[in-house]
Amino acid sequence: MTSTGINSLRNGPDEEGRFGLYGGRFVAETLMPLILDLEAHYRAAKVDPAYLDEIKTLATHYTGRPSPLYFAERLTNHLGGAKVWLKREELNHTGSHKINNCLGQILLAKRMGKTRIIAETGAGQHGVATATVCAKFDLPCTIFMGATDVERQKPNVLRMKMLGAEVRPVTAGAGTLKDAMNEALRDWVTNVDTTYYLIGTAAGPHPYPEMVRDFQSVIGTELKQQFQEAEGKLPEAVVACVGGGSNAIGTFHAFLDDPEVKLYGAEAGGHGIDTENGHAASMTGGRPGVLHGNRTYLLQDSDGQILEGHSISAGLDYPGVGPEHAFLHDSKRVTYAPITDKEALDAFQLLTRTEGIIPALESAHGLAQVMKIAPAMGKDTSIVLCLSGRGDKDVESVGNYLGLL
């Protein structure tokens, strides 16, 4: 958005949609004219006060922004080091940060005259947020969701259906987010005239990574100001979980040019980074490749075939990551670290018991990273975690894991 000089890390993407080596527009010709059209519409909308006002009004009265910045005192005492703060995106309408992006994109779809919405979803949070805005703006919508995820995120499947969405389970592959995205792309190619593809994370072909980042950047912008008001300085560290990377880039973007703020992205470490095909940590365990419209870090075999990966968290169970994160990884501005299923489950329980906040399993990965670094930091320092979503959707799966059911 606002660039701050030639050495700024906030200048990307370039005209070709690249963040350094990453990003781009690796799509079938059928989609190319539409993607160019989308970019033109987005460029116009971005500077149109009426569009920006509408987003702002909806953010305030529909989503409930700004989301609070909360000092987690008992958690802080428990960890015994840095003060831990939570940016409470889980209090947003629909229960996660996903709504921030959906509102921006649905208004764009309207401007473009599209009459049907499709989306992919993993945890179902993006599916729910999409179904929600489609109900509000009276557009039919179809949500693609891997069959495995339909099973492990049942409450969200029901919510989507109640909101009027058609949920299409995808059985190809491991039946997770990657497969849902393939199927959404196939639908889009087929119905390109009428259909708007509302991508749920900061990945996909240009201009999606930029657009989704812009819509999510409200998280970091608010939190910077809220923290300044509370503590009169910048936080020492900021942490977010990384699936495709939308809540993380939205949280980090405002801090990219503040080198004194350490940034940490928590990737899905699954059964552990050394277990082949047993994790979804694309930056720790993958290498650059091209999938779903962009070049980025991917989990792949020696032949360039994409691996399915694994995570306990459906929202992080994706073998790629948004291209801007790939760039920030190479430039070492952000530290990406894997968190195992077990560490995430422990974090899930800790937050629930110390603060009375049930986090989404995705966000619990971020918290596990906080648990690793906070104890070694001084008591006069602060870490802010983006609590990207609430855990209502996960209570059944976690109950199963813990043997409570």
Binding site: E16, G24, R25, F26, V27, A28, E29, T30, L31, M32, P33, L34, A172, G173, K178, N182, L185, R186, V189, T190, N191, V192, D193, G289, V290, L291, H292, G293, R295, L298, Q300, S302, D303, G304, Q305, I306
Partner: protein, 273 residues
């Protein structure tokens, strides 16, 4: 003259469109797939489009997705695809071979290394679904430099304004995708296909082949009336699938593909009749 140019010229001289056949490399296993490939020219295929299997074929319907999965499960790799082409070339010097697939396995292999190996093996052209002209610097330009044709897909959404950009670095032939959709769907309007081919021809001297949705000899004859070539894929991959016993090749597998190609070849011969 390249093999592709030569073959289109021969078909033109014979007064018929070229029959371009797509099969998946390594489906259902290496030996059977090699036998299918070698049977294609005899059965009447003019140009072989050889699918490079990929884990995530975003522009393909179920039939070709499953074909790719069978090939990968049987151990096919990009190196393996090139090996098959090399073997084929020992016996057939003239039939053009176009590799079709997605970019990541090539990117992973290394672009320069891949192009050198492909040239050496006897590959004539590439169709890479997820490389639009906006990404020409990735593989298209290096391929042209290496003497390999880069065949571009044009679609119903490629309008007159965009066509010149799409055609700019295209060589060998132009592949018109008959519909907005994935492989295996049905063509909605044959008349519209004719108009689209005429529109593309007003922009280029390259041959125009039409693909997606051609299933029968009749389709081949009808669509072939308006084009320099027709591409058939899904039904051939389905023929492989239909011949399997317990998921394995049977003694009918090669014949199933060969018979279907022979029937399609009859269709293209009637196209201008």
């Amino acid at each position: 003259m390249s093999r592709i140019e030569k073959r289109f010229a021969e078909c033109k001289a014979a007064g018929r469109p070229a029959l371009v056949t797509y099969v998946m490399a390594g489906d259902p296993d290496l030996a059977t797939s090699q036998a299918i490939m070698e049977a294609l020219p005899q059965a009447g295929s003019d140009i072989i489009e050889f699918g490079m299997p990929f884990s995530d074929p975003m522009a393909d319907g179920v039939a070709i997705q499953l074909g790719g999965q069978r090939a990968l499960a049987a151990g096919m790799t990009l190196r393996g695809v090139l090996g098959m082409v090399e073997d084929f070339r020992r016996k057939d010097e003239t039939t053009p071979i176009v590799l079709m697939g997605y970019y990541n396995p090539i990117y992973s292999f290394g672009v320069d290394r891949f192009l050198a190996a492909a040239k050496e093996a006897g590959v004539d052209g590439l169709i890479i679904v997820d490389l639009p002209p906006e990404e020409d610097a990735e593989l298209c330009i290096p391929a042209l430099r290496a003497g390999i044709n880069f065949i571009r897909l044009t679609t119903p959404t490629t309008d007159d304004r965009r066509l010149p950009a799409v055609l700019k670095n295209t060589s060998g032939f132009v592949y018109y995708v008959s519909m907005t959709g994935i492989t295996g769907a049905a063509i909605k309007s044959r008349a519209a296909v004719g108009e689209a081919v005429a529109r593309i021809k007003s922009h280029t001297d390259l041959p125009v082949a039409v693909g997606f949705g051609i299933k029968t000899a009749e389709d081949a004859a009808e669509i072939g009336r308006h084009s320099d070539g027709i591409v058939v894929g899904t039904v051939l991959v389905e023929a492989v699938a239909g011949s399997l016993v317990d998921g394995k090749a049977s003694d009918r597998t090669v014949a199933a593909v060969r018979d279907l190609v022979a029937s399609l070849a009859g269709g293209v011969k009637r196209a201008r009749g």
